[in-house]
Symmetry: C2
Subunit: 138 residues, 2 copies
């Protein structure tokens, strides 16, 4: 209970799944803490940027990765940042749980072929919530 | 001369830039070796997959990353695999050179904000080749 969760989802790679990220984050927050709540902010645009700002994001996100108890990622949308975070979390030895909609995407072989990750393909978004509940109760 | 280059580009994230990957790979091969020549294979589909196959890809690609002298990545298209490879190459201490078309994409803050990487935004594909030449001659 009250685990610190790093939630990973696409920002600049595309915001198609932002509403689903928001629902996953709200679900996790019922029992635990989400360090990266802004990933589900529907006003967050794929276009926000700025060099100094990028350095601040990098410093903050890697600090949150170190602080987290586990990582939950929604990987249906391709994203350079999420891919980077997956390898970074693996390096830190954090448990990583990856969800993707197999009707919409083939997961990258660099994630699907890496036995370190716990991977959950789904076909209906509703399948995801009981899995998250189980993960948080582990 | 005859450096071993790990070239990184999107496969399952989308093959929009595959023809440009092919041109970059052909250019590098004039003087040096590209370990990941298949990235520029125009018959390679974003749909190829299979669980055992994924494990083989993962093992092969991480072996090539370890074997490489440097990494050159084209990051205009978002890609989980390329993002993973960037963090993996950083962990190994390999020099990483990232190109992206700033008219088409905003680079992820997890790459743009990480001072480890050498980043080259471009507006015209032709700008890339003299930069690659310079990198290979370093």
């Amino acid at each position: 209970m009250n685990k610190k969760v790093y939630f990973a989802g696409s920002i600049r790679g595309g915001r198609n799944d932002a509403e689903f990220y928001r629902r996953m984050i709200e679900f996790i927050k019922k029992t635990d803490t989400v360090l990266t709540e802004h990933i589900g902010d529907l006003s967050l645009s794929s276009l926000e940027h700025g060099e100094d700002h990028d350095v601040q994001i990098y410093i903050q996100d890697t600090a949150w990765l170190r602080e987290s108890d586990l990582v939950i990622a929604e990987c249906t949308s391709p994203s350079l940042g999420v891919g980077y975070e997956m390898a970074y979390a693996e390096k830190l030895g954090k448990p990583v749980y990856i969800f993707y909609n197999r009707k919409k995407a083939n997961l990258s072989a660099m994630l699907a072929g890496d036995s370190y990750f716990h991977i959950f393909p789904y076909e209906d978004e509703e399948e995801v919530f009981p899995e998250i509940k189980r993960i948080l109760e582990e």
